[in-house]
């Protein structure tokens, strides 16, 4: 009898500090598997954000840089332009990317930077303790919206994937989910494509992953899955919002 699963070599042995059930860990594994499969461990660079994934640099066994809140795409731009051989990915949460870092992600996409961005959307600020994020659903309770997000006061959530898909220089935008084994397998395919695009020089690739945050949602991991499927997927439908990489590849 043989083991048919293994810890990817692009992960260190460090124990994830994430809470039980957290989607970050799953996406870390998927990303590391993709790095292994594409054989890019010796030229991958992870840009770690501010937020729960701040220690992503401790987990990915590749070159790393940890940057200020929201600036991942700018840092990735600097690395990629200075060392085009590198395969650079910015790993960001929704507070980091959709709030303080909105300018950086929009302009990196608008410039068509040949980088990969992994965006974890769990509708809340995790590290700071459950404050309202730009992605928080209307009615969803947060520590800074104790009565639930009020559309009249705090507006509506931002659908980042749909928004970035409007930009001509963004080449591949997909939203996936980490809620079930089949969806996790699909998520990996999307992440792999987003890295392959960079290797092929096709330009800006972006994968949004819906994820649970049981701790800050005040629920259990299993009940969190229900919230993700029933509420989050209604606001954030899964799918490919943009993919012009096939045409670009043929044109090359």
């Amino acid at each position: 009898m043989n083991a048919i699963t293994k810890r990817p070599s692009a992960l260190t042995e460090a124990q994830f500090h994430y809470c039980p059930g957290c989607g970050h860990s799953v996406v870390h594994r998927l990303t590391a598997e993709v790095i292994d499969e594409l054989n890019i461990k010796d030229r991958a660079v992870v840009v770690a954000p501010v937020g729960c994934a701040v220690f992503a640099d401790k987990y990915f066994d590749v070159d790393s840089i940890q940057g200020p809140h929201g600036r991942g795409p700018a840092i990735a731009t600097g690395i990629k332009r200075a060392k085009p051989d590198s395969i650079v990915f910015s790993y960001q949460g929704d507070g980091d990317l959709a709030s303080i870092g909105m300018a950086e992600i929009v302009h990196a996409a608008a410039r068509g930077e040949n980088i990969t961005v992994i965006f974890i959307n769990n509708t809340i600020y995790g590290m700071t303790g459950g404050q309202m994020a730009p992605t928080t659903l209307v009615g969803q309770v947060a520590t800074t919206a104790p009565k639930g997000r009020n559309e009249k006061l705090q507006g509506n959530p931002i659908n980042v994937s749909e928004m970035l898909a409007q930009l001509k220089s963004a080449k591949y935008i997909e939203r996936v989910s980490s809620d079930s084994a089949p969806n996790i397998i699909k998520a990996k395919k999307a992440i792999k494509k987003a890295f392959q695009n960079q290797i092929d020089g096709l330009g800006f690739s972006f994968v949004e992953v819906l994820s649970i945050c049981p701790t800050n949602w005040g629920t259990t991991p299993l009940k969190g899955l229900d919230f993700l499927r029933e509420k989050m997927m209604a606001q954030y439908p899964l799918g490919v919002f943009k993919d012009v990489t096939a045409a670009n590849k043929e044109g090359k």
Binding site: R71, I75, G78
Partner: protein, 387 residues
């Protein structure tokens, strides 16, 4: 050695950086430094480097953070309000011990202020400027020639000590044209060693590198800060740069940097013609500051006069050096107008004679500013001028 040419300060600086091996530039438009990114936009491409016009100064400095982490000679430039925005990235680069170059072509402040040259960012530059306990190495050129030479010096010091370096100049230097030449051979970046700590590129032959500024384990941050402090102490011991003129027999010592030093040289000569034995110390590094030398000189002179385009920001450092050995006076020209030689000469004479009432007190400065018409006659200060 290149031939002597007439060059604008900002462009001389940009070309100086290219010749120093700078192959990454990210910036954002702001007056009066726009010639730097404009020059870089084509010159980086020509030399195989990278130029990015960022969406903001914040983004530009973070692009610099990424590029500097790969070990290339990388820089950004801006002017005062833009440099305030860059403090986030400067603090991170200081915390991650990365060499890089930040250029501040200072303009009037606070806030939007105006677009003429100023020296109001002295404290911000020399005390770190961003959050946390750190310093940046600050070089203050006073001529187009020095603007051309200092990028190389800044990169070398920055790499030697793994500390962000800043060139702190002003809009007057940036905008003026002077004869200059490049007195060093262009650096081929390929000949520069790849630092052991750098990230990026294909690297089958080494382990991974990590660039970060956090230290959350118990006592870790303290160790990091102390290690940095040890390097800072070496910089303060070994890298102080200054220029002295006529200090041998000086009775009144003028301390001024950058464009203020230019006017002070003329003032010193005027004072000497009137029998006032004036000397000049021009700090070239603002951090590390020539504290030791000023302390020595303050024991020989009767008075020290600080000339700056700010309300005594540099004087704080001079006071800390002089420690009461002799009186220290301030001749301030805030609000982006440079000091006038005649006024400095008068102030130097008054300082020497201990005549405080002739020293351009705050009251005098206010009165002069109200009475003078030069502000409205100066084309860059007219209503509707480009901001």
């Amino acid at each position: 050695m290149s031939e002597k040419v007439l060059m604008k300060g900002n462009e001389a600086l940009a070309e100086g950086a290219i010749r120093a091996g700078c192959r990454f530039f990210a910036g954002y438009p702001i007056t009066p430094q726009n010639e730097v990114p404009e020059y870089m936009s084509w010159r980086q491409e020509e030399t195989g480097g990278a130029f990015v016009q960022a969406e903001s100064e914040v983004s530009a400095v973070n692009m610099l953070y990424g590029a500097a982490a790969t070990g290339v000679r990388a820089m950004t430039s801006s002017s005062s309000p833009g440099v305030s925005l860059k403090q986030e990235g400067i603090s991170y680069m200081a915390g991650a011990d990365l060499p890089c170059l930040i250029v501040n072509i200072m303009r009037g402040g606070p806030g939007l202020g105006n677009i003429a040259g100023a020296q109001g960012d002295y404290t911000q530059a020399t005390r770190g400027g961003g959050n946390g306990d750190y310093r940046t190495l600050v070089l203050a050129p006073f001529s187009v020639q020095e603007l051309a030479n200092f990028p190389k010096k800044a990169f070398e010091l920055s790499e030697k000590y793994r500390i962000p370096a800043m060139i702190l100049a002003d809009g007057i230097l940036g905008q003026m044209m002077e004869g200059m030449s490049y007195d060093f051979e262009p650096v081929d970046p390929k000949t520069l060693p790849q630092p052991a700590w750098a990230i990026g590129g294909k690297h089958a032959d080494r382990k991974r590198n990590m660039v970060f500024s956090y230290a959350l384990g118990e006592g870790e941050l303290e160790k990091m800060v102390l290690k940095r402090a040890e390097r800072y102490a070496l910089i303060e011991r070994d890298e102080v740069l200054y220029e002295e003129r006529d200090t041998q027999d000086a009775e009144v010592l003028i301390v001024a940097y950058g464009i203020s030093a230019r006017a002070s040289i003329a003032a010193m000569n005027m004072a000497r013609a009137n029998g006032v034995k004036a000397g000049l110390l021009r700090p070239i590094t603002l951090w590390p500051f020539p504290t030791k030398r000023i302390a020595e000189l303050s024991k020989k002179v009767k008075a020290v006069l600080c000339v700056e385009m700010s309300m005594g920001q540099m004087k704080v450092d001079v006071d800390l050096a002089v420690k009461g050995s002799c009186p220290v006076y301030l001749h301030a020209k805030p609000g982006a107008f440079f000091p006038v030689a005649e006024e400095i000469a008068t102030a130097a004479e008054s300082a020497l004679n201990g005549k405080k009432d002739q020293l351009f007190s705050l009251e005098d400065l206010v009165k002069n500013a109200e009475n003078k018409t030069y502000a409205v006659n100066n084309p860059i200060c007219k209503e509707g001028a480009l901001l």
